[in-house]
């Protein structure tokens, strides 16, 4: 049974104007997303800035209220739960943010930050909580003395370790990682990715790993979903996305990654233009204005996400002309 099933998730932000601030339109940040995450699995969610990947992650934990859709976690629909009913579920769904400098309270010591989840959920006696804090610090590779220090005393990589420690404090089942290594230097990035892989193995965690760097996402994920303008355009096994991408956008995205090998410069598909605004998404296929293969049909008729004509089971693609 899947751990998480997201069905037709929509997040629309109203644009208000006029004296009465009536809604004049909406930014359709997430516009009908379906996702499934199985226990112990990593689903990578990639896309460029503004495609709605972070909003999707935040809507799943209801840091942003979804406009429509179902978020089924272990058989319960989180989208309709009251705040009170949501709280016990939040123990099992945690989040790691991109910028640990912003997501850690600068006025609290690291010990307090890590103890807070236990206090909120009324777990353990004080000395037991402090023992757990020491265990967490060991687990993420920070010295125990870190408990008495403050976030600003740590480097970016160490702060991300604090954020990870906090997210695993209550033994969650699912961790939503929103660009967790994007702000880090490469040598530190690989340390943090290794830590996430180790923790997954030891604690049988599931991850929704949101990032724009396809090489990083491919490395850590079992399956990958590619998002464009609020929708998922392709979803498949991580290796298959890389070896046999079927959507023209995924192909361009993969070919745009600069290869760190001067002799292996691939033939690049350079897309024309920018991502259109999610306020006025183009009619038909959202990718058609930049698609090298767009036809008249693409301009009027939006393709559905359906099984790819070739490729393994579970490979989904949303293109009329499934390549």
């Amino acid at each position: 049974m899947p751990l998480l099933t997201v069905q037709n998730l929509k997040v629309h932000f109203p644009i208000r104007g006029g004296i009465l601030l009536t809604a004049k339109g909406a930014v359709k940040a997430v516009d009908g997303v379906d996702l499934v995450i199985h226990p112990g699995e990593t689903l990578g969610l990639v896309g460029e800035s503004g495609c709605g990947k972070s909003t999707t992650g935040k809507a799943i934990v209801r840091l942003i209220e979804p406009t429509a859709g179902k978020i089924e976690f272990e058989g319960r629909d989180l989208a309709t739960l009251s705040r009170r009913a949501l709280k016990p579920v939040r123990r099992h769904v945690q989040m790691i943010f991109q910028d640990p400098a912003e997501s850690l309270n600068a006025r609290h010591s690291v010990g307090n930050i890590l103890e807070e989840p236990f206090i909120i959920h009324k777990l353990g006696a004080p000395d037991e909580r402090r023992r757990r804090v020491r265990e967490l610090l060991d687990r993420v590779g920070l010295p125990r003395s870190a408990a008495d220090r403050f976030p600003f005393e740590f480097s970016g990589g160490q702060r991300q370790r604090i954020g990870i420690a906090r997210s695993i404090a209550l033994n969650p089942k699912l961790v939503i990682c929103d660009e967790p290594v994007s702000a880090l230097d490469v040598s530190i990035q690989s340390q943090v990715l290794n830590l996430l892989l180790d923790l997954q193995r030891e604690l049988s965690l599931s991850y929704l790993f949101i990032a724009h760097d396809l090489a990083v996402v491919r490395h850590i994920s079992d399956r990958i979903a590619v998002m464009y303008l609020g929708r998922i355009v392709e979803q498949a096994d991580a290796d298959e996305i890389h070896r046999g991408p079927r959507h023209p956008y995924t192909r361009a995205l993969i070919s745009a990654i600069p290869e760190p090998d001067p002799r292996r410069q691939s033939n690049r598909i350079v897309l024309k233009g920018d991502v259109p605004s999610p306020i006025n998404p183009p009619p038909g296929c959202p990718f058609h204005p930049r698609c090298p293969r767009a036809t008249d049909r693409c301009r009027v008729d939006a393709p559905a996400l359906r099984p790819a004509a070739a490729g393994r089971a579970g490979h989904l693609v949303s293109c009329h002309y499934d390549l």
């Binding site: 460029e48 530190i188 290794n194 995205l253 897309l271 920018d274």
Partner: protein
């Protein structure tokens, strides 16, 4: 390659740049020497705080004032010493023979001026006697050249009305307006999405072919280096760790740091979910640099010698130099994949 191509446009010798802070003097760039060949692209790669941006700012003396100071060495551009040039001479050179592209186009553009006017200013400053109307016409031509659709309309817009990729194109147009001989690009695509990065890198390559300028490209992304540069400089904690032609650096990396960097990038052909190689620990703070080699606390090949003496940059083959005491003893670099 003609003899001309080997001529150096820019030569930096023993450059030392420091900042006076409350905690004392921080030396961010500590005695580095390199040159940029005519028509070629030199890539400077390194992690945050290694001194790559400070090097770029030192060349045209745009260091934050009053803290930033060039403490030693010289910068020769087309034979002229820029470290001692008077300020009005530098004003002529910046935006004239040396163009600049910064990482975040929103901070490089003035938010209250229309794009056409900002770009026109670059022409007016360097071409005395040019009329405003001509400057605007040249600006529109330049916007078209960097691939901005409907440049006449865009010239009348403000920076916030443009997308990130469009803004970076405007900054490139400003940098190239007066056909510079050298363009210094500091992380020009870091703030952009990969599909837009691909557009911008292609644009820079095309314009280099057309104008024949040299580029000094500063980035932390080894992929961007492999794709755009002929020569590479690897910096670590204010010093040069390794320098050579792009093929030498990627095929036969000689410094343990360069090897560590190349090993720690997740590549599309690595086995999935395998542990990545890492460089343990982190860069030492510039105020607490160890005596001896600056990479010693993270280096798997460290010996007593490394703790005592700083390694000098030694040539290991023509055009390829490494600052490591033990480069001869390191295991051969893994053979590159075909």
């Amino acid at each position: 390659m003609t003899a001309n191509a080997n001529e150096n446009l820019l030569e930096v010798r023993d450059l030392v740049t420091g900042f006076d802070t409350d905690a004392g003097r921080v030396v961010a760039v500590d005695g580095i020497s390199f040159s940029v060949r005519k028509g070629a692209t030199l890539g400077i790669v390194g992690e945050s705080g290694c001194g790559k941006s400070v090097t770029a700012l030192s060349i045209v003396r745009l260091l934050p004032q009053p803290m930033g100071k060039i403490l030693g060495g010289e910068v020769r551009f087309q034979g002229e010493n820029l470290t001692t040039a008077p300020p009005d001479r530098l004003i002529k050179i910046r935006g004239g023979r040396i163009g600049f592209i910064f990482q975040e186009p929103m901070t490089a553009l003035n938010p209250v001026h229309r794009v056409g006017r900002q770009l026109g200013e670059v022409f007016l400053l360097h071409n005395p006697g040019m009329s405003k109307r001509d400057a605007l016409r040249r600006s529109i031509e330049m916007l078209a050249k960097v691939g901005i659709p409907s440049p006449e309309i865009r010239a009348g817009e403000y920076p916030h009305q443009l997308s990130g990729g469009m803004r970076q194109r405007v900054v490139i147009a400003m940098a190239l307006a007066n056909h510079p001989d050298l363009v210094i690009a500091d992380e020009p695509t870091t703030a952009l999405d990969v599909t837009i990065q691909a557009q911008i890198l292609e644009l820079m390559r095309d314009l280099q072919r057309e104008f024949g300028m040299s580029i000094m490209l500063i980035t932390h992304d080894l992929g961007v280096i492999a794709e755009t540069c002929q020569d590479v400089l690897v910096m670590y904690a204010g010093k040069i760790a390794e320098t050579g032609a792009v093929g030498q650096i990627f095929d036969r990396p000689g410094h343990p740091y360069t090897r560590g960097l190349l090993d720690s990038i997740p590549r599309m052909d690595n086995p999935r979910k395998s542990r990545l190689k890492t460089i343990d620990g982190m860069v030492p703070g510039l105020l607490e640099l160890p005596p001896g080699c600056r990479f010693q606390n993270r280096c798997p090949y460290r010996t007593e010698l490394c703790e005592k003496r700083q390694p000098a940059l030694e040539p290991i083959e023509p055009g390829h130099a490494v600052a490591c005491h033990h480069w001869r003893m390191l295991p051969p670099a893994p053979t590159p994949k075909q």
